[in-house]
């Protein structure tokens, strides 16, 4: 993956192969797009309860597992009350 430079020190959302959503500050990456996130947490979605945030701290995610990297608009993110968001988790990738 070529252009991760622009995401360094930004708060990002990673979506993984199995559908997990992890947010954190992208503090480093390498050639294979392995990614180090600081101050990271998993956002667990469920249709019945609101979103639950599980703190993960400093986290290394293997590049192979990552299907999407998104830059978070922190201002917009802070206006969202996660407890009111009811949604199914993102489905896993099926090849």
């Amino acid at each position: 993956m070529s252009s991760l430079q622009g995401y360094v020190d930004r708060r990002v959302l990673l979506i993984l192969q199995d559908g997990r959503a992890i947010i954190g500050v992208l503090s480093g990456y390498d050639q294979k797009s392995n990614i180090v996130l600081s101050d990271s947490k998993e956002r667990v979605y469920s249709i019945d309860d609101g979103v639950e945030e599980i703190p993960l701290g400093l986290y290394l995610v293997k590049g192979d597992m990552i299907i999407l990297i998104g830059e978070i608009d922190e201002e917009r993110d802070s206006t969202i009350d996660l407890s009111t968001i009811h949604a199914d988790p993102i489905p896993p990738i099926r090849y």
Partner: protein, 96 residues
């Protein structure tokens, strides 16, 4: 190589990328690489109610291998040019 070139000509156009997890993301194509990894700006997720997960995301990078489809702006695709280029590439492949 051919498809990579096609995507490069569509830079700055709006496209809709559908992933193999059924997520559909529309955005402005900012860049593409040889693996067909895609960078989109000003993104919108289709069916926001069902997929609120990316509400606060403004741009994203998508791994090429998880793409199922990309819907392209037809008015910016020269189909005659594509067919000629495809025939040329096919010819060069068989000569090898």
């Amino acid at each position: 190589m051919l498809i990579f070139s096609v995507f490069k000509t569509l830079t700055d156009q709006r496209v809709t990328v559908e992933l193999k997890n059924d997520l559909s993301i529309t955005g402005t194509l900012k860049s593409v690489d040889q693996f067909l990894n895609i960078r989109l700006d000003a993104i919108e997720v289709s069916d926001q109610a069902r997929h609120p997960h990316m509400m606060a995301v403004k741009n994203c990078f998508i791994r090429g291998s998880v793409v199922r489809y990309v819907q392209l702006p037809a008015e910016h695709v020269d189909t005659q040019l594509l067919e000629d280029a495809t025939r040329r590439e096919a010819a060069s492949q068989t000569k090898r």
